[in-house]
Amino acid sequence: MNNLTVHPLIALLLFPGGLFLLGGGLLYEWIDRKLVARFQNRLGPRWFQPLADLVKLLAKEEITPQGVNRALFFILPVIALASALTSALYVPIAGFVPASSFRGDLIVTLYLLSVLTLCLGLAGANTMNRFALIGATRTLTQLFSYEAPFLLALLGPAIVTKSWQIMTINYYAQQHTWMAITQPIGFVVALVGLMGKLELPPFDAPEAETEIVAGAMTEYSGRGLALFHLGKNVELFIGLTMVAAFYLGGLANPLEFLAKTLGLLVVLTVLQSLFARLRIDQTVGLWWRAGALLALVQLVVVFLLR
């Protein structure tokens, strides 16, 4: 484990929070889009396209539709992005020691990561739009289906480590065999759970454009939409970091971080382009019938062999 620590203010504004996280999120979004495009025989966007999209959206007029709670409509994207950014303080971004750490921060981080989805659901339910309402229902339904297996999948490494502190788990992972090998089921569930969390295909029923336009985000434009997108990018970045830190032998330095998270991202893009979209009932069925059970089995095995 390295001993690099950073000043709290820098940690908040520049690294690992703030600018670095936003930049990283945008970069990973680009890699994701580009790779999926290449797999689908398309050209894909140029490297600055996510940033350009963001700037464009921020520059646009934000339309507040009739019949919404204005305060909620305004604040939800902010909370979503803020919680995603906050969660970065507890994870070993770029292989550095987390900016902040305490016993049990794993649970806090997981909840912070779920806030984004919750905000999305609320944002959809806040509007009168029928597509947004259905999108919100689906978002929350999906939240309830993948959240438990995802949590269970991340608990496996925590139980082996006997700690609920991300930093300790990361440290433990560096010292031992990759947990992707010792706990393969947990790894798969965590990775696929991350896809569910980010509503990536084939789990994109909550924003299936051919059915419900943009789902919960249908009424959002300009700033709100930009912040939600940004929040998702940040969450992708952090989610990858966590799965890599837990299951791929920890993150000791920036190089290792890049290699492992990008490797995971490639796997995610392949999975994204392989499948047709699952219906929401199929998603729920898959998670509760297969995902949760598998994660439980993994947990039991971990308990028994500990």
Partner: protein, 392 residues
């Protein structure tokens, strides 16, 4: 929310699932669709009326523009009908070229549909690949006719261009690639687990239902109804080059995928056969400018099913009346019936399952509120028009 109140999800006229405007209302209970209705007519263009002001040759161009995907069959249907009225027949080589183009067009249409349907199911990879391969046939169509759509192949009494050896070689080479790719797609649509989860047992229409709703084309054939104008009443060179009917008993979306993909193989086979046995001879015959009075019905098999033309001539340069019934119009009823009881998420795929073409089937609907009479005299119609616009 009140449970009594209906929750209606509107799809269209502007919606990402729709490539052309149409309006669908799905009453949902949670995710389950309990009622479905359709409203068409957003792209009504008045082509049938416009036909009465154009001469026969001009109409050939007008009717080719009814549909952007199956443009050639429209012109063919008109040309066949008018030739029959005029008592002439296109030369054998022209007839063969007509059906050659029709089959190439079918390939392009089916591949296009495969992509769109996959996209509706969220399977964008299949969408992109099938459209990439569709470019092969688009290039072939362009090399033959000079155009990617609206090929303008037909004249009344023949075709405009010949198929030469270089075209022949290019087509055969393109078909080889396409056949290999199509085999892959057939494999995908019949074995991919996530895709099957969206298509198998979804939108099932029994043979009886298919007969009852009067479905046509691949939609009917996927329910086991052996109905294909190319087989039932062969026209043009289809008498020389018989078509093998492709049917499937499944009746669900998967069957529609399978039937259309297998029809692609049939088209490949047919095109090869036509190219091998292309009759020699002239490309056109002379047709009088004035078509003798009379009426006729012309039926052809469009990629989406039976295309029906009623043509009436009064002996002049212009038609008295041309009535077109496109296949999509016959298939709508089945969609609205089959939709009930399915999930909202299945709607885009069930809609696209019939390969709908909106602009070809939009018609004027007269809602007669005043008298009960169905027939309006010219004076009544004129008065109605004047009053209607006064109100605006």
């Amino acid at each position: 929310m009140e449970t009594q109140r209906k929750f209606i999800v509107p799809i269209g006229p502007q919606h990402p699932a729709l490539k052309e405007p149409g309006h669908f209302q799905f009453t949902v209970d949670g995710e389950i669709v309990t009622d479905a209705s359709v409203r068409l007519g957003y792209v009504h263009r008045g082509i049938e009326k416009g036909a009465e002001n154009r001469n026969w040759t001009q109409n050939l161009y007008l009717f080719e523009r009814i549909c952007g995907i199956c443009s050639h069959v429209h012109a063919t249907a008109l040309a066949i009908g008018v030739e029959r009225l005029a008592g002439v027949q296109a030369p054998p080589r022209a007839q063969a070229i007509r059906i050659l183009m029709a089959e190439l067009e079918r390939i392009h249409s089916h591949l296009l549909w495969l992509g769109v349907a996959a996209h509706e199911g969220g399977f964008d990879t299949l969408f992109m690949y099938s459209w990439r391969d569709r470019e092969i046939v688009m290039d072939l169509l362009e090399s033959l006719s000079g155009n990617r759509v609206n090929y303008s192949v037909n004249l009344i009494g023949g075709v405009k261009f010949d198929v030469e050896d270089k075209h022949r070689d290019a087509i055969l080479r393109g078909l080889d690639t396409l056949e290999e790719r199509t085999r892959h797609y057939l494999n995908v649509v019949t074995t991919d687990r996530t895709f099957l989860a969206r298509t198998r047992g979804v939108g099932t229409m029994s043979r009886n239902q298919a007969e009852l709703f009067g479905t046509v084309g691949p939609t009917a054939r996927a329910s086991g109804v052996a109905r294909d104008v190319r087989v039932d009443a062969p026209y043009e060179a289809y008498t020389l080059f018989p078509v093998n009917l492709v049917t499937d008993e499944g009746g669900d979306l998967m069957a529609r995928f399978v039937v259309r993909t297998k029809e692609l193989f049939e088209s490949y086979r047919l095109i090869r056969e036509i190219l091998d046995h292309l009759p020699s001879g002239e490309l056109t015959v002379r047709v009088p400018r004035k078509i003798p009075a009379g009426e006729t019905v012309s039926r052809v098999e469009a990629p989406r099913g039976e295309l029906f033309y009623f043509i009436k001539s009064n002996g002049g340069e212009k038609p008295e009346r041309i009535k077109v019934r496109t296949p999509s119009l016959c298939n709508w009823a089945s969609v609205m019936q089959v939709a009930v009881g399915h999930k909202l998420a299945d709607m885009p795929m069930i809609l696209s399952g019939i390969d709908p073409c909106f602009s070809c089937n939009d018609r004027m609907v007269l809602i007669n509120r005043g008298s009960s009479s169905q027939v309006w005299s010219w004076d009544e119609l004129r008065r109605y028009g004047i009053e209607y616009y006064k109100k605006l």
